[in-house]
């Protein structure tokens, strides 16, 4: 009886967890009805002594009848008895409910179909719980169906379960466990009572909860058991709610290679990328500009933010090789892999950029980043692709994300680039691969552009110049078509296009000229609004990146900038053709050969000096600022320190208490001046004596020689002096304290009370001398007296719970009467 009711209550309490899934309350009442129907069947089964296996069947039947009555009464016979029509109607509702659930996201509207599904599910769980708890007497196992119910909102909704609902559900289950425990112990006979006085004082508890099922009979008083059960349950629930709030959130750590994507790796999460180029085009075509992200950087200069690097050219357009994100390249594992090709000789400038992605961006799983990122601080599981340094996630989305990235941008000067060696073994050949059917005109064009280039760098500059200047290209978004013909058309005939065409064409021409290239897609630096830079959809951009040994990948900008082109595009400084004639440094001191000699002489120095600087730069400031980025050891250290501080709280409390008492001790030491003062002093109590006595009590407890409850001051003094072999001084001191306490407490006129500070100190020293060092240390660091005080507080809290309990019982008793 009690178990059946408790099971129903537990199921219903757990069902409350479902509330965020629905809009509207119809499901609530129907589910309540379903639980009650099952409960009714269970109670009837118990009353009629139906075998245990039959009760769930009865429950099923009751649930069916209930659902028929609610949802298909029109088709049923006498509104409740299921007929063929009603069954069909229910099946139809189930089908619609099922499709609705597939269609809607939570919170779903509580229409008939969904309510039927919910009520039926809750009813089934009620049957399972009743079977386990009330029939099979395995109340703990009944937690499993309840847990299944509770996991539904936890898995569907991204938000955590609200704690009040969790408490209700947990109380329901606790109640079920307690009911089971009482039922069990009820058969033993007399229970071991937790509190004699309470059990004796609370006959109303027994009267309020009689077993109404089987007539009057002797029952064990399980009140005490229930009391302790409730205490444990309350404490467990309170811990379950409070503790997670105090703990840092845990993130999954993968112990296996769980690479993302990758061609050879069939397993693992895959990532699907919407066609970046189509995406780019779509964003540029948007009628209104929407903010994509804002950022601030340490040098307050705009930077291209790259998301994708497209490396495969199939003759029509560039595509992306599936990126690989190995677990060791997670962003929270420290610095990212080194940028490919960037030698230690290259001069770099270290910049830290703070980026905030707008909340409105959907399905963005690549982080827009300035190139090359060295280190990123971001929440979530973000991984870097080693080759391209794209940073992406298979689980998280970038919307609303705020992150910090440190970059080491190469700062090549044109001269340096010109003198670069032409060794390209390190580069993946895919960055040079071109389809065989590339029209020969394009190759000829590339040849003509780069004909008199002395270095790859110069060739690259010439190609860019071809787009921005010599080729007379026009920027226009209204361009159609891809592929070889489109490419040929763009390069040779129409010369009208937007960033995609420019970037693709330049990349192709670069490859033809023997320079490894790829197409980057992302955003330009945007415009400065207030303190930060704002990047909007109109700043979507595509640009080529060319590889030079020693400096790695460098962005180029063939697309026209300004009002007639991509508004916020900027041509990198190093890609400007070098104005030899106007170079002031070269011409100022001495003309001609001397100048070049100077250059040559200065060159190595210049190169060496930056190298040293660079190395320092890379080491010292290459990553994020060290004060922000906290190493694991420091985190652990801080955690340990916090823990230590936490553990020292009792010691602190003890010190405060002691100093307060010692101050009180100094208050009143003199003899009362006259009769009247003496009276007043007695009635007002002797704060100094009280303080001394309380302090002595605590000192004793701290040293593990606590005063027994029946130990009088005099007996205490006797015991201490005898057991710990006090010398004369200490004996006199403890006796004097005991006598003063005795007189203050029990005599009509306590008479003269001497100062006790010194006595107390003597006694404390004498006591400390008798205990081992460990005990002394403990008395200071973890004083039992304070722990006892804290424990008493806790007990008082539990007493509060008990008080609630009696209030409820009283109400029940009144109701019964």
């Amino acid at each position: 009886m009690r178990l059946s009711v408790s099971s129903a209550v537990a199921v219903f309490a757990a069902a409350i967890l479902l509330y965020p899934l629905f809009s509207g309350g119809a499901w609530f009442w129907t589910s309540l009805g379903a639980v009650l129907a099952v409960l009714l069947a269970g109670l009837l089964g118990s009353r009629l002594s139906v075998p245990a296996w039959a009760v769930p069947l009865a429950g099923l039947a009751a649930l069916w009848i209930f659902l028929t009555a609610v949802f298909a009464s029109g088709e049923a016979w006498a509104a409740v008895v299921p007929t063929k029509g009603s069954v069909l109607e229910l099946a139809r509702l189930l089908a619609t409910g099922w499709t609705d659930i597939q269609r809607f996201a939570a919170p779903v509207p509580a229409n008939d179909g969904i309510t039927l599904l919910t009520a039926g599910g809750v009813g089934l769980i009620a049957i399972a719980v009743d079977l386990l708890a009330a029939r099979l007497r395995r109340a703990a196992l009944a937690g499993l169906p309840l847990l299944a119910l509770a996991t539904v909102p936890a898995t569907i909704l991204p938000d955590p379960i609200s704690w009040p609902a969790f408490i209700i559900a947990a109380l329901g289950f606790t109640n079920l466990l307690i009911a089971d425990g009482r039922e069990r112990v009820g058969h033993w006979g007399r229970a071991v009572l937790v509190r004699r006085t309470r059990a004796a004082a609370g006959p109303s508890a027994g009267a309020a909860a009689p077993s109404s099922g089987d007539g009057p009979r002797e029952r064990a008083d399980t009140g005490g058991l229930r009391l302790s059960g409730k205490r444990i349950g309350f404490a467990a629930i309170a811990l379950a709610v409070l503790l997670p709030a105090a703990l840092p959130a845990m993130e999954p750590v993968s112990f296996f290679t769980f690479g993302v994507g990758g061609r050879g790796n069939g397993k693992g999460n895959t990532i699907s990328i919407a066609d970046p180029i189509a995406n780019l085009r779509g964003q540029l075509d948007l009628p209104e500009r929407r903010t994509v992200l804002t950022y601030t950087s340490s040098d307050d200069r705009p930077r291209y933010l790259r998301m994708y690097a497209l490396d495969k050219f199939d003759g029509q357009q560039f595509g992306m090789t599936q990126p690989k994100g190995a677990p060791e390249n997670r962003t929270d594992n420290g610095p990212l892999p080194p940028p490919p090709g960037l030698g230690s000789a290259a001069k770099v400038s270290n910049v830290v950029t703070n980026i905030h992605i707008s909340d409105e961006i959907a399905e963005l799983s690549f982080l827009p980043l300035p190139y090359p990122p060295r280190q990123i601080r971001v929440d979530g599981d973000w991984r870097a692709d080693v080759d391209t340094l794209m940073v992406f996630s298979t689980q998280d989305e970038a919307a609303g994300l705020e992150y910090e990235v440190a970059t080491s941008e190469p700062q090549p000067i044109s001269e340096q680039l010109e003198n670069l060696p032409e060794a390209r073994e390190a580069v993946d050949p895919r960055y040079l691969r071109l389809p065989d059917n590339l029209p020969p005109e394009i190759a000829r064009l590339a040849g003509s552009i780069t004909a008199d280039a002395r270095s790859p760098y110069e060739a690259a500059v010439k190609i860019q110049q071809f787009f921005t200047k010599d080729g007379h290209f026009t920027y226009d978004l209204r361009t159609q078509g891809h592929g070889n013909s489109a490419l040929k058309d763009f390069l040779l005939h129409s010369r009208v296009g937007f960033c995609e065409q420019f970037a693709t064409s330049m990349a192709v021409l670069a490859r033809l000229a023997g320079i490894p290239s790829r197409v980057a897609i992302g955003y330009t630096g945007g415009t400065k609004l207030g303190e930060s830079w704002t990047v909007s959809t109109g700043d979507s951009h595509s640009w080529p990146e060319l590889y030079f040994d020693g400096v790695g990948w460098l962005p180029f900008e063939p697309t026209p900038a300004g009002s007639l082109g991509q508004g916020s595009a900027r041509v990198p400084e190093y890609t400007q053709p070098r104005p030899r004639s106007t170079s002031s440094e070269a011409s100022t001191p001495t003309p001609g050969a001397t100048g070049s000699e100077d250059d040559g002489a200065l060159g190595p120095q210049n190169r060496r000096n930056p190298r040293e600087l660079d190395r320092e730069g890379l080491v010292a400031t290459g990553g994020l600022p060290p004060d922000d980025s906290m190493p694991l050891a420091a985190k652990i250290g801080i955690g340990v320190a916090a823990l230590l501080l936490f553990l020292l709280i009792p010691a602190g409390i003890r010190l405060v208490t002691r100093s307060r008492r010692v101050r009180t001790l100094g208050w009143k030491v003199a003899e009362p001046s006259d009769e009247l003062t003496a009276r007043v002093a007695v009635t007002a109590g002797h704060p100094s004596v009280a303080a001394a006595w309380a302090e002595l009590d605590d000192v004793l407890l701290d040293h593990g020689m606590a005063r027994g409850p029946s130990e009088t001051p005099r007996a205490l003094a006797r015991r201490l002096a005898r057991e710990y072999a006090f010398d004369a001084d200490a004996s006199a001191a403890i006796t004097s304290i005991a006598s003063a306490v005795e007189r203050v407490l029990f005599a009509r006129d306590p008479g003269r009370i001497g100062p006790m500070k010194q006595d107390l100190r003597t006694v404390r020293r004498a006591l400390a001398a008798t205990v081992p060092r460990g005990r002394r240390v403990r008395a200071v660091l973890l004083p039992p007296s304070t722990l006892r005080r804290l424990r008493l507080m806790g007990e008082r809290l539990l007493d509060g719970f008990d008080l609630l309990e009696t209030i409820r019982l009283r109400r029940a008793a009144q109701k019964g009467a």
């Binding site: 009280a690 027994g708 009088t712 001051p713 004097s736 306490v741 007189r743 005599a747 009509r748």
Partner: protein
């Protein structure tokens, strides 16, 4: 350990007189200072004393020594199975000459009455003591006669396992303030006793060291000893604890609480204190409470004597709130 503060002047005399009486008794009974101290406590608390032990350990000697050392009328009643109540209280006899009934006072009309082997008398006779012990008066043939103060009954009894005894009824036991067991003397004390008692009885040499009026003044001084609320509450706590103890069938009566506090006053005064401390109650709890208690069947089965139960309770019941808040 002596508490170092001055004895109040009004108690000076008391302590000195008590010391004299103690010395006098100790000259007769060696090595029983605790028992003697308790005897004096009961005397000053206006109570009655029950001395219980096997024959021959000096019960009667103690009673007689106390009686001797105070210069007051002392009567001794040897209780036997055929003793009648009138043998104790006295009878009204017809006087031929005056032709009137004349009251012949019994042995209770004295300051100290020594009832020897009280449990040998029939319950009827034992009951004759009830009125005079509690109300300090005797009613014979409808006439009430007041007894002189101080009035103290010192009864001795053999343990009830001995043959031919009637156990004292609970009401009777409750009227005794304290019960004390003499115990066998220490070997050295026994040796000394052999030497001293070899010749003439030292009892004969005992001279009274205090007068009745002195004892009355002492009793008056004891009444003035201060008992704080906390200590009173502690006495009640102890009594209540005996009533709730699962080891006891019959707990301590309110009369016993009263007598406990009275005895504690005397105990404090004998220690030269004009206020009672919980230690006084703790020292007296066993002699004052134990003989009134009836152990439960379980406790009897475990051979737990009421003395042990009371000792346990004293150890468990917390002393009055010693944290002055």
């Amino acid at each position: 350990m002596a508490v170092t503060h001055d004895v109040p002047p009004q108690l000076d005399e008391l302590v000195a007189a008590a010391h004299r009486i103690r010395e006098a008794i100790e000259s007769v009974i060696e090595g029983k200072s605790d028992v003697i101290r308790l005897t004096l406590t009961v005397l000053l608390a206006e109570g009655h004393l029950l001395i219980e032990d096997v024959p021959g350990v000096g019960k009667t000697m103690l009673a007689k020594a106390l009686a001797r050392s105070i210069d007051c009328p002392v009567r001794r009643v040897q209780f036997t199975p055929d003793l009648l109540p009138s043998d104790i209280t006295g009878v009204s006899a017809y006087n031929q000459q005056t032709r009137e009934f004349e009251f012949k006072p019994g042995p209770v009309f004295a300051n100290i009455v020594v009832g020897d082997e009280i449990n040998r008398a029939s319950p009827k006779t034992q009951s004759a003591l009830l009125e005079c012990m509690e109300e300090r008066q005797v009613t014979v043939d409808g006439v009430t006669y007041e007894l002189d103060a101080p009035f103290m009954v010192i009864a001795t009894q053999n343990p009830i396992e001995m043959e031919g005894t009637y156990p004292l009824p609970e009401a009777q036991r409750d009227r005794f303030t304290a019960r004390v067991a003499m115990g066998y003397p220490e070997p050295t004390a026994e040796l000394e006793m052999l030497d001293v008692h070899g010749g003439a009885s030292p009892l004969d040499k005992l001279k009274p060291v205090a007068t009745t009026s002195e004892v009355r003044a002492l009793i008056e001084a004891v009444r003035g000893v201060y008992v704080s609320q906390a200590v009173k509450k502690y006495a009640i706590d102890l009594a209540v604890a005996t009533r709730h103890s699962p080891d006891l069938r019959l707990g301590a009566s309110p009369r016993s609480t009263l007598q406990l506090v009275r005895a504690a006053r005397a105990h404090a005064a004998l220690a030269g204190r004009d206020y009672v401390i919980p230690d006084d109650l703790q020292d007296l709890a066993v002699p004052v409470l134990a003989h009134r208690l009836l152990p439960s069947v379980e406790a009897q089965g475990q051979r737990r004597l009421p003395e042990q139960v009371v000792t346990d309770l004293v150890r468990r019941v917390p002393v009055p709130e010693t944290r002055a808040s």
